[in-house]
Point group: C2
Chain length 107, copies 2
DNA sequence: AGCATATATGATTATACATTCATATAATAA
DNA sequence: TTATTATATGAATGTATAATCATATATGCT
């Protein structure tokens, strides 16, 4: 198995999870500390912390310490581009599914 | 948990896996049947079939039957754009890691 | 009908993942 | 020093996922 493919998969896995998507979306306007993030996305502090650590380890987020607080930010603008394209696919697919109710497509 | 976020995550999960990345990459030049796909990516027929079914169910691939053969193709061009961006991130990150050997960064 | 080829799927196994609760650690304030 | 706030982490649990082997199903050929 190509190591490049594995690395690509790791990057995408760091994004492809509902809680992580909520975190990334909340970070669209720049860095935020954990204490701001977990109430905003309505998840437990410990769970949020784990996901942040995961994404930071996988190179998706940067981490900055200021006193007691830890600030995280999205490192690569491509992360948002990936999510925007996933949204476009999701939107198009859900429209197709709705369209099936009125159409007469059959397998 | 927002259902839109879940759907986005589902779309990304359909891509974020090494075997599926290999399949999608092989489909860059258009539709291919299962009998062409699994030898090309060097995976078992049954495993390949499961991943193809998964991606088709999740709206990533189209499926066309012609006799005994089943042809799969990538439905949304955004899928390739997502992978290209993941590749860019992976490349940039690996360069940073290599750079750390010569630099003097410390946490 | 019998055979070969293509694809899918049930059962199983091993592993990874997400979440929670309780607690540890670190920084700062009183 | 003690208390408070912010973050991280160990342990446990339930669930999901990937892969494999064996076999079922479907199509077309002779």
């Amino acid at each position: 198995m190509s190591s490049a493919t594995n690395y690509q998969a790791e990057v995408l896995k760091s994004i492809a999870q509902a809680t992580r998507l909520k975190i990334i979306d909340f970070l669209r306007n720049g860095e935020r500390c954990v204490c701001e993030i977990f109430p905003a996305i309505d998840e437990e502090q410990s769970n949020t912390s784990r996901h942040l650590a995961y994404m930071q380890t996988h190179g998706i987020l940067s981490r900055r310490k200021d006193g007691v607080k830890i600030y995280y930010a999205v490192k690569h603008p491509e992360v948002f581009e990936i999510i925007d394209r996933a949204t476009a696919i999701a939107k198009r697919e859900s429209e197709v599914r709705i369209g099936l109710f009125s159409g007469a497509e059959r397998d």
